[in-house]
Amino acid sequence: MRWLVACLLILVSTAATAETFRFTAIPDEDQSRLEERFDKVARYLEDQLGVTVEYVPVKSYSAAVSAFRNDQVQLAWFGGLTGVQARRLVPNSRALAQGQEDAEFRTYFIANHDSDVDTQGDDLPKNVQGKSFTFGAKTSTSGRLMPEYFIREQFGAPPKSLFSRVGFSGDHSRTIALVESGAYDLGAVNFKVWDAAVADGRVDTDKVDVIWKTPTYPDYQWTIRGDVDDRYGDGFTGKVRKALLDMHDPELLESFPRQGFIPADNDDYQPIEDVGEKLGLLR
């Protein structure tokens, strides 16, 4: 027992403290072989930046924000709302780049065919009232924040009083599975996830289909801590941004999945921040 403790102490004292640049990505897309895929991104960044780069896998949206706040990662691929949460907690942190698709992101409202909801109008159909409805994760921009915003805007009522039941599936793929099975009549999903699921044949469009596409809003972005220039050298932030914008290898971009990255800054996400405050998800 005594030498167990001794070994523990040795291990603790030799823990590596070298300055590695770490990044994470919120778990929003297909997570199979996640480490393998993001390790390739890490190798790419390493070549571009000349420092050791490591990918830190996280499980939940809030874990990604906590890791960023606690300086366990210095760079993160956030959703719209999680990015705002993170930047409010870490002073001087800034949005660097967004995906080409993210400037005009959408949520799809999907419905089970047996729920008899009108399909494909300009607005969310009136007869969604009284149906059961599921969001995705609680702090997902496309699975929670924006769909709730559009629901309130159109019906002037919170989802809880509009629908017979409101759930949080926790994940876009799960939202699709639950609406397809009829467990929920309706759901709100990230349009990229829906399109990918349809393309892969993972969803039976005879059972579940899109009933409304929301207007566009800004979503995912890369956010970096404000203190990296001091720690990794002058102009480091600029180097990271350039590396991200120069990422053209389809194999790397597939992990996000985006066509490519374009510049973004904190102000692009003001609408998301406003909505988050209005809904009481930020304070």
Binding site: C7, S32, S62, S66, Q72
Partner: protein
């Protein structure tokens, strides 16, 4: 009971009649409150998804998970070190336990918060590291060990101490005359806790620590069922083979070996820790001394009363359901019924049901039945009922039947059940507190239990709100535990040699 009254159906003062009244009371209370529960069935077509799940379980893809050996090693490492440090902290506390009310209160408090919630709290300070994982197990386990060790020590036979000559020091007396008498029970309970820790360690993956549960939850959530199936099988095998690799001599080596995998250890940032403990956890208006602001802060807390109501109702329903499930299922695994193959199958089913995380059972029922309290109720009842059934079957196997001529049904009703029922109920009442704790985890079904709101508060990074709700949850658990203790059958004799007490083994 007045003496003049003619004995009615359930009147009378015998032990078994009292037990029957308590059980029927529990079930009646559950039935009376059932109309308040939301039990609608709404699903139309779960079969496609269920088919994919079953095919995944039958055709598992073991190679789909990256770094599976690492995840397995971490699962074991966290469990082992969590238990070990829990013992190191819990044992000295157990010696002080009977003397300090404050200590008993604090232990009850740390026990009352689910490991996953400890992990969510610690995550904010120590990040996704071994410190978070191990401390999330160690903290509640220290509280549990303190209590259970104290209970075991209390039963130390006095004779060896009385036989010692005058003037033997307190320490020598303890080490030579007291400890050896209870050593077997202490170590057997510690072993049992380690089994619990394995399950908890897997669950820690659900909040992001890199154990088996991390990959299991991701694969299951995203519908990669072949991978999820493989991981589930690995998990079942790990639990079922524990007696093979969990050997006393082997464990220190596993503990040492796992140390090399647990890193990198986080730099513990004192400022971060202090900010979290002194600022983040407390309502801002309280820190500023702004009383009207505090009132507003209370107003922003989501509907507390319905949440408490839902939590208690689901806990009650889960407890009553577990009773029914346990009564129905325990013969499956008992040597008094069926033959060897049926018993093997029965045991397998029970292990499967009690080892599968409730969250997964609940999701399967959610697909089949739609969102309501029903999936949660079924998941809690099956999981906990199977666990109790398994233990009851083991108790039953120790009984030598008086007559072999009785048919199975009579053996069940007249011979075995009367002898086992007290133990069964004791297990159930011990379990009630755990069931309440578990209701917290079923928020994804859209049932607004306290746990649902705690999960939301963590997601919105409102740690003050999360902490406040955790305090309420802990208070509720302590109250339920006190109530269960009040009604737990006390007349049931200890089964010596078995982990010391019939109820204790149902606490995880």
């Amino acid at each position: 009971m007045s003496a003049e009254r003619a004995p009615g159906l359930l009147a009378g003062d015998s032990l078994n009649l009292r037990l029957a009244r308590r059980s029927l009371g529990l079930i009646a209370l559950c039935l009376i409150l059932l109309p308040f529960a939301d039990l609608a069935i709404t699903t139309h077509d779960p079969w496609a998804e269920l088919g994919r799940m079953i095919s995944g379980l039958l055709r598992p893809d073991i190679l789909a998970t990256q770094s599976l050996p690492h995840a397995i090693a971490l699962t074991i490492g966290f469990a082992l070190w969590g238990t070990l440090l829990g013992v190191v902290l819990g044992f000295p506390l157990a010696l002080l336990f009977p003397r300090s009310r404050l200590l008993r209160g604090s232990c009850a408090f740390v026990r009352a918060i689910h490991e996953l919630f400890w992990a969510l709290l610690l995550l904010q300070v120590f990040g996704l590291s071994a410190v978070t994982a191990i401390a999330a197990l160690t903290i509640p386990y220290a509280g549990i060990f303190a209590k259970v060790y104290a209970e075991i020590l209390e039963l130390t036979p006095r004779a060896p101490v009385d036989a010692l000559p005058e003037g033997v020091g307190r320490f020598s007396r303890f080490v030579y005359a007291e400890l050896p008498m209870v050593w077997a029970r202490l170590s057997s309970y510690t072993r049992y806790r380690f089994e619990c820790a394995m399950r908890s360690s897997v669950l820690l993956g659900f909040v992001g620590l890199p154990t088996l549960g991390f990959h299991l939850e991701s694969a299951f959530r995203e519908g990669r069922y072949a991978e999820a199936g493989a991981l589930l099988w690995v998990f079942y095998l790990m639990i079922a083979s524990l007696h093979l690799w969990g050997h006393r001599r082997l464990l220190p080596w596993i503990a040492l070996g796992s140390l090399f995998l647990l890193g990198p250890w986080p730099d513990i940032d004192g400022a971060l820790l202090w900010r979290f403990v002194s600022v983040d956890l407390w309502p801002n208006p309280l820190l500023e001394g702004n009383w009207s602001g505090l009132w507003q802060w209370f107003g922003e807390i989501p509907d507390l009363l319905p949440a408490i109501g839902n939590t208690l109702l689901l806990g009650l329903m889960g407890t009553a359901g577990s009773l029914v499930v346990a009564l129905l299922l325990w013969p499956l695994a008992s040597r008094h019924f069926g033959n060897r193959p049926t018993r093997m199958a029965g045991k397998g089913v029970l292990i499967l049901m009690r080892s599968t995380p409730e969250l997964m059972l609940a999701f399967i029922f959610l697909l089949m039945l739609g969102p309501s309290m029903l999936p949660a109720w079924l998941a809690l009842s099956l999981h906990n009922g199977a666990l109790i059934a398994f233990l009851v079957a083991r108790h039953a196997d120790a009984i030598v039947p008086g007559s072999h001529a009785l048919p199975a049904s009579s053996r069940y009703t007249y011979e075995l059940l009367p002898r086992l029922y007290g133990g069964l109920l004791a297990l159930l009442f011990y379990r009630a507190e755990t069931i309440i704790r578990e209701t917290a985890l079923l928020g994804m079904l859209g049932i607004a239990t306290l746990g649902f709101h705690i999960d939301s508060s963590f997601a919105y990074l409102m740690f003050d709100q999360a902490f406040f709700l955790l305090l309420i949850t802990a208070g509720l658990n302590i109250a339920v535990d006190a109530l269960a203790r009040r009604y737990r059958p006390r007349e049931i004799a200890d089964t010596p040699g078995e982990r010391g007490h019939p109820g204790r083994e149902a606490t995880c």
